[in-house]
């Protein structure tokens, strides 16, 4: 009985946090630089593949600490890629229409897909869940895998941390001011270009980190890049054009609706995410959290 009622809720929350973890970096980059980064999926995938290689080389026992360290390492490497991308691609295109940075990020997506194919091949890979996260909780007939609980907690923590940084620290205030008016921020003595570089690095770091953290949940293949991008764009826009709180709420809303929808209409799983997204955009085109930047 419990499984019937709350099973979809649990699964929905789990996918919501997967999408949210994927979308954080995207939201940050879009919120501040106004670049809709198609390549985010590509670098997420590179992070996942890097973590995969690191697991294969160093951590045969798949302990929790190794898993976390490897994810962070993948995040750092991808973050460094972000530094290169910012310098070579985003910065030169800053004063051109946003449409052109869109092609540039699509080109980067293609390049990262190609790189993954060239380095790791096209065959499917997967890794084991860390032993500490292997089990499952049972409440009545509701089975909750420990890994899913871990991801949900991680998603909420990640949201809490970002929200705290944005609302209660000097850095956060700086980010909001640059997001709302970069020209004025520059006039007030903030080094906006360097700030942008940092944001891109952090955004890419988050992509790589998410790649590593979500690795046990994914089957690695070069298609991984385009799997989450559309969903992430959806929560980004439904949330309200790049603010973290909106993205968080939108991921939960859309994924839980989708989860229940997929149970009720089992012939067409996965469709309700987009139906809910379209309805939300029509009912509330300004987004869940309107007006707020970040």
């Amino acid at each position: 009985m419990l499984a019937l009622l709350f099973g979809p809720l649990f699964n929905g929350l789990f996918t919501a946090m997967v999408v949210f973890l994927f979308a954080t970096g995207l939201t940050l980059v879009f919120g501040i630089l106004r670049i809709l980064n198609f390549a985010h999926g590509g670098f997420f995938m590179i992070g996942a593949y890097l973590a995969f290689s690191l697991v294969k080389t160093f951590a045969s026992d798949t302990s929790l600490v190794a898993y976390l360290l490897i994810s962070i390492a993948a995040g750092i490497v991808v973050g460094l890629c972000g530094l290169v991308v910012e310098r070579l691609v985003f910065r030169p295109l800053q004063h051109v229409d946003e449409a052109y940075s869109l092609i540039a990020t699509y080109a980067l997506l293609l390049i990262s897909e190609g790189a993954v194919k060239a380095i790791w091949g096209v065959s499917f890979h997967s890794v084991m869940t860390p032993t500490a996260l292997g089990g499952a909780f049972m409440v009545d007939d509701l089975v909750m895998p420990l890994f899913a609980i871990f991801i949900i907690v991680l998603g909420v923590l990640c949201y809490g941390l970002l929200e705290w940084i944005l609302q209660h620290t000097a850095t956060g205030k700086l980010m909001k001011s640059v997001a709302s008016d970069p020209w004025m921020a520059g006039m007030l003595g903030i080094n906006v270009p360097r700030f942008y570089a940092w944001i891109v690095v952090i955004g890419f770091f988050l992509a790589g980190l998410a790649g590593g953290l979500l690795l046990p949940n994914q089957t690695l293949s070069p298609n991984l890049a385009s799997v989450f991008v559309v969903q992430a764009f959806g929560v980004l826009i439904v949330g309200g054009m790049g603010n973290i709180r909106g993205t968080f709420l939108a991921s939960i809303l859309l994924c839980v609706i989708d989860s229940y929808g997929s149970v009720i209409f089992s012939q067409v799983p996965g469709i309700f995410f987009y139906v809910a997204m379209a309805v939300m955009l029509l009912v509330r085109p300004q987004g869940l959290i309107a007006g707020a930047r970040l």
Partner: protein
């Protein structure tokens, strides 16, 4: 602004179109089947890109779901031809076009009322995902395995009957159809309606103030572009004789956007140039497994970095710089 009104260049546009058509039509006599296949697909992609630019460059609408209409056209044609083989192919192509336009009309009534700009883009993206998923779930359409065994029809023209399945007949038929579609798009863009579209792209608010029904014209632009693409999709079905849901995927919707922005938004043939570049790149790198994405991606990136504004835009700016005139290039806004 030194840009001339679009109507004045019709001789050049027609001349380019005619030359390209003659070159494409003579290909089967001089090259192998592989290149003919690429050229035929290119012709369809040209229609795909040009029709997208009717919405973007002309009307200022950004659709991220253009591929879904290509797919709707293809699947509608394939399914109807299978269950009702008696229908005259030309009638069927026209009906599929009308169907595509009708679907766009229904979508547009709701979607365009509330949203333009990035919202419309993301909304069409969501709708295209729904189409993609539905195509991969519906058993009658072959699910993820695709719709197989689509036959090239026999075309009876009253005085004679052409078997499109034999030789390169279908290729030439497709070229004629694509030429007609491109001519239709050209005509729409340069008609009175096209000029109204242009005014919406430049300043919708001012257009509304002048008494133009903004919603109705946006809807027409969306429906015309989608109907045209549906016919291109319908032509694609017997060309490949196989349809997979991949043609509704968002990565395929990205194609016309890339063609347009690569080639240039402002010139009529811009998207066609972009499609040509892509076709050449894909054909040139087809044997380089994995590396092909890297090569295509890198070249795209280089073009964008070197010519932000598209290749044709870049060339025309270069020409202007040579003749020492101040160059002003207007670009439509995509996200605001």
């Amino acid at each position: 602004m030194t840009a001339r009104p679009r109507g004045s260049d019709w001789r050049r546009d027609v001349a380019i179109g005619a030359i390209v058509l003659v070159v494409l039509a003579s290909l089967p006599f001089v090259t192998n089947k592989g290149i003919v296949f690429v050229a035929g697909t290119l012709a369809l992609h040209v229609v795909f890109g040009l029709s997208w630019n009717l919405m973007f460059g002309q009307t200022g609408l950004v659709s991220f779901g253009h591929a879904s209409f290509f797919a709707i056209g293809g699947y509608a044609f394939a399914w109807t031809a299978k269950v009702a083989p008696g229908i005259h192919p030309l009638l069927l192509f026209a009906a599929v076009g009308a169907f595509g336009a009708f679907v766009a009309f229904l979508v547009g009534i709701i979607a365009l009322r509330r949203s333009v700009g990035v919202y419309f883009a993301i909304l069409t993206l969501a709708l295209s995902q729904i189409v993609y998923l539905l195509l991969s779930y519906i058993p009658a359409l072959g699910r993820e395995d695709g719709f197989t065994g689509i036959r090239r029809p026999r075309l009876s023209l009253g005085f004679t009957t052409i078997d499109l399945a034999s030789g390169e007949n279908y290729y030439h038929f497709m070229l004629v159809m694509c030429a007609l579609l491109v001519a239709g798009l050209w005509w729409v863009m340069h008609s009175r309606m096209g000029r109204v579209f242009k005014s919406l792209q430049q300043d919708a608010e001012r257009a509304a103030f002048l008494g133009i029904n903004v919603g109705a014209y946006r809807l027409s632009s969306f429906a015309i572009a989608s109907g045209t693409t549906a016919i291109a999709g319908a032509l694609y079905a017997p060309w490949l004789q196989l349809l997979t849901p991949e043609i509704a995927h968002w990565t395929f919707s990205a194609r016309p956007i890339l063609y347009t922005l690569l080639g240039g938004v402002q010139s009529f043939w811009g998207p066609a140039v972009g499609a040509l570049i892509f076709a050449v790149l894909e054909y040139g790198t087809r044997t380089l497994h994995g590396l092909s994405e890297i090569v295509i991606g890198s070249i795209l990136l280089l073009v964008v970095l070197a010519f932000p504004g598209g290749l044709l835009g870049g060339l025309s700016r270069l020409r202007k710089r040579m003749s020492r005139k101040p160059a002003l290039v207007a670009r439509p806004e995509i996200v605001r």
